[in-house]
C-alpha cells in the first residue's frame, strides 16, 4: 500500500468510500508524506481515504457456534475496522470457537485481537435453551 512516495512521485487512486450507504467516489493522492482526499461529502470520507492508502481496514461480521439448539449461531462483529491482512486469521479463529450461553448483546467475546485494541462483541443476546 502506498502511503508515502519517493520525492517527486505522485500516486493517485480512485475508490469508493464505504463509511455510509451514500458511497462517495473519492480521489486519493499521495505525494511524499502528504495524502489528499477529494470527493468526500463528510469528514469520515477523509479518514477512510487516508486509512485506505495507509492501512486498509474493514469491520468484520461473522457468526460463532453456540451450544444452543434453538439458536445455533451467535452473530458477532468487530468494534472497529480491522486491518485487512488480519481478517482471514480472525475469521478462522472465530469459526474454531464455541461460545457458552447465556450471552448479552455487546458482551466481549474476543478481547483486543492481536493487540489492535479491537474487540469482537456479540451482536445479540441469547439465553440458555431451557430458559
Amino acid at each position: 500500500m502506498a502511503s508515502t512516495t519517493k520525492s517527486g512521485e505522485v500516486v493517485r487512486r480512485e475508490m469508493v468510500c464505504i463509511s455510509c450507504p451514500i458511497g462517495c467516489r473519492l480521489t486519493v493522492t499521495v505525494s511524499g508524506e502528504v495524502i489528499t482526499v477529494e470527493g468526500n461529502r463528510c469528514a469520515r470520507g477523509e479518514v477512510y481515504g487516508t486509512e485506505e492508502m495507509r492501512s486498509p481496514k474493514r469491520v468484520v461480521t461473522a457468526t460463532m457456534a453456540t451450544d444452543s439448539e434453538r439458536i445455533p449461531r451467535l452473530p458477532v462483529r468487530t468494534t472497529a475496522a480491522l486491518p485487512k491482512e488480519l481478517i482471514d486469521g480472525l475469521l478462522n479463529e472465530i469459526y474454531g470457537r464455541r461460545v457458552p450461553l447465556p450471552v448479552r448483546r455487546g458482551e466481549i467475546i474476543i478481547q483486543d485481537y492481536r493487540g489492535t485494541g479491537i474487540d469482537v462483541v456479540a451482536a445479540r443476546s441469547i439465553t440458555r435453551d431451557s430458559a
Binding site: T63, A65, R73, K84, E85, I87, D88, L91, N92, Y95, G96
Partner: protein, 489 residues
C-alpha cells in the same frame, strides 16, 4: 438371497399399479426401483391428465386400455385418496380443416366406447369454457376426462402395495440377470441380489436395457422430451376444463391444464433426442409453448410462471404400448413404450398384465386379507377451522406451518418421511411443500431440520432427489478462509 414369485422392475405409475394388483394374490412381489424413491423416473414429469380415449384408434392397445383405465379412477380415489377431478376435456378447433380433424377424433372416441363425448359448436364450446379464444370455431367435449396429481397417485399405489405385502427395493438399478432352471437371479449395481420366478419389465426409459439384460427381445426406447411451465394458483389463465389444441401426427399438442391443486400448466412440447438423462429446459421452447397456450386461452400470462421442468417420454417405433410375454426369455413380460396415455391406462394395464401372467401359468390365489384401502392423511389445507383446533390438540405438529404458500404442516412432513420419502423432492411430491409461489424459499430450511431430526441424517446426507444431489457438504469452519485477493483466477 430373497426369493420372490414376481419381480416388477420400475416403480413408476405402471410398475406401481401392477405391483398393487398382484398384491391382491398369494404372491411374494418385489418392486425394484433404480432411483432413491418411487415416481422419480418418467412419472415424475407427468402432466396429470386422465384422458378420455379419443386420441388413438380402436385398433391400438393404448386406446382400449385408456378407456378401460379411465373409468376405474373413481373407485381408486375412494381407496387411495389422491386428488382427482373429472373436470372434462375440450379440443378447440380454429378452422374448418381443424374441425375435420376433430370429427375424426370424435368418431374415434365413439368407436372406443367413450361415454358422453360430443361435438361442439362455437357457442357450446365457449359456454363450456368462457376463457377460450373467441376465434374458436368449435370442437369436442369429453366429460369423462379429468386431472389428478400424478405423484400422489403413484405414492398411494405403492403405499397400498406395501400395505398388502409388496416389498419395495429402492436404489436397485438392475445391471445383470441370469436364469438357473426356473428362477432368475437379478443383481443391482450396488451388488445386492434377489431371485424371482417371474419378471415384469416396467422400466420406462430403460425398458430396452432391462430387456437385453434378461436376454429378451431387442428394441430401442427413444426419449422424447416434453417441457412444461407451471403458473401460480388462481392465475388468470386457469380454465375449468383441460384444453387441447387439434393434435399433430407427433403429439397431442401443447395444452392448458388446470391442475387439481388450482395451478395452471402449459405444455408439453415434444422433441426427440438421444440422451435419456437430458431434462434441460430451453429458451426457444418457452416462446413456442406460450404462443400455443395463448392461442387457446388468451389470458395465459408468463408473468404468472413459478417454475418449469422437462420430462422424457419412453417411445417405441409404432408408438403403441408393447405389453407382451417375451417369446425368448421365459416368464418375462414387457410393459414398454408406456408414454401418454400411460397414466390413464395404468390400472387397466395392471389388469391386463395380471391376466397375461395368469394365462402364462402364474398361479393366482386371492388373498382374503387384501385391503385396497389406505388411510387418508389429514391435510391442514383442506380442513375446516374447528377440526384444525382438534387436530392440533391431538398432534401439535399440525400447528406448525412448514410450507406457508401451500399451508403444509409439520405433521404432514413427518407422515411423508414415515412413508419412506426422505429426499426434498419426495417430501415435496407427497405434501406439496415447496411447490407454491416461493418455490421452497421459505420452507427448505424447515424441511431440512425436520428430516434430520426424524431420520437421524445429517444435513450433509440429505439430497434433493438422491444420487449426488446434495444440499450442503460443509459447516462453517470446515473450510479455511483465504479471502484476501491474490487468489488464482
Amino acid at each position: 438371497m430373497q426369493h420372490y414369485d414376481v419381480a416388477v422392475i420400475g416403480a413408476g405409475v405402471t410398475g406401481a399399479a401392477i405391483a398393487r394388483r398382484l398384491s391382491a394374490y398369494r404372491l411374494s412381489v418385489a418392486l425394484l426401483e433404480r432411483e432413491c424413491d418411487v415416481s422419480f423416473g418418467v412419472s415424475k414429469a407427468n402432466s396429470g391428465i386422465i384422458h378420455a380415449g379419443f386420441h388413438h384408434g380402436p385398433q391400438t392397445l393404448k386406446a382400449r386400455l385408456e378407456v378401460r383405465g379411465n373409468v376405474m379412477y373413481d373407485a381408486l380415489q375412494r381407496e387411495l385418496h389422491f386428488p382427482f377431478k373429472r373436470c372434462g376435456i375440450l379440443v378447440a378447433a380454429f378452422s374448418i380443416e381443424e374441425m375435420k380433424t376433430v370429427e375424426r377424433l370424435y368418431e374415434q372416441g365413439v368407436a372406443n366406447g367413450v361415454i358422453g363425448i360430443e361435438m361442439c359448436s362455437r357457442a357450446r364450446i365457449l359456454a363450456l369454457e368462457p376463457k377460450l379464444n373467441p376465434d374458436v370455431v368449435g370442437g369436442l367435449h369429453a366429460p369423462s376426462g379429468g386431472i389428478i396429481e400424478p405423484y400422489r397417485f403413484v405414492f398411494s399405489l405403492v403405499e397400498s402395495a406395501k400395505k398388502n405385502g409388496v416389498e419395495l427395493l429402492t436404489e436397485f438399478d438392475v445391471v445383470e440377470a441370469h436364469r438357473d432352471g426356473a428362477v432368475y437371479t437379478i443383481r443391482s449395481s450396488s451388488g445386492s441380489e434377489i431371485a424371482a420366478d417371474w419378471v415384469v419389465n416396467a422400466a420406462g426409459l430403460y425398458a430396452d436395457k432391462v430387456s437385453r439384460i434378461f436376454g429378451a427381445e431387442d428394441y430401442e426406447i427413444t426419449p422424447r422430451k416434453g417441457e412444461e411451465f407451471l403458473m401460480e394458483r388462481d392465475a388468470k389463465g386457469y380454465t375449468s376444463r383441460v384444453v387441447f389444441p387439434v393434435p399433430t401426427p407427433n403429439s397431442k399438442g401443447m395444452l392448458v391444464i388446470p391442475t387439481v391443486e388450482g395451478t395452471t400448466m402449459v405444455g408439453p412440447t415434444a422433441v426427440e433426442g438421444d440422451d435419456k438423462e437430458d431434462k434441460a429446459t430451453t429458451a426457444e421452447n418457452f416462446e413456442r409453448v406460450f404462443y400455443s397456450a395463448r392461442r387457446l386461452v388468451p389470458t395465459v400470462s408468463e408473468r404468472d410462471i413459478i417454475t418449469s421442468f422437462a420430462g422424457l417420454r419412453p417411445t417405441l417405433p409404432g408408438d403403441d404400448f408393447y405389453i407382451e410375454l417375451s417369446k425368448i426369455a421365459p416368464s418375462f413380460v414387457h410393459v414398454a413404450g408406456i408414454q401418454s396415455p400411460g397414466l390413464t391406462a395404468s390400472p387397466a394395464v395392471a389388469e391386463y398384465v395380471k391376466d397375461l401372467l395368469k394365462r402364462a401359468g402364474l398361479v393366482l390365489i386371492e388373498k382374503p386379507e387384501y385391503d385396497p384401502n389406505i388411510p387418508e392423511l389429514k391435510r391442514l389445507r383442506s380442513l375446516p377451522m374447528e377440526e384444525v383446533d382438534e387436530l392440533i390438540t391431538q398432534d401439535p405438529a399440525y400447528g406448525e406451518i412448514v410450507c406457508r404458500c401451500e399451508t403444509v404442516s409439520e405433521a404432514e412432513i413427518k407422515a411423508a418421511i414415515k412413508q419412506g420419502h426422505t429426499t426434498l423432492d419426495g417430501i415435496k411430491f407427497y405434501t406439496r411443500a415447496g411447490m407454491g409461489r416461493c418455490q421452497g424459499g421459505f420452507c427448505t430450511y424447515k424441511v431440512l431440520k425436520i428430516l434430520s431430526r426424524e431420520t437421524g441424517m445429517s444435513w450433509e446426507e440429505i439430497t434433493r432427489r438422491g444420487g449426488g444431489s446434495y444440499i450442503t457438504k460443509e459447516h462453517i469452519g470446515d473450510l479455511p478462509v483465504k479471502s484476501l485477493p491474490g487468489r488464482v483466477e
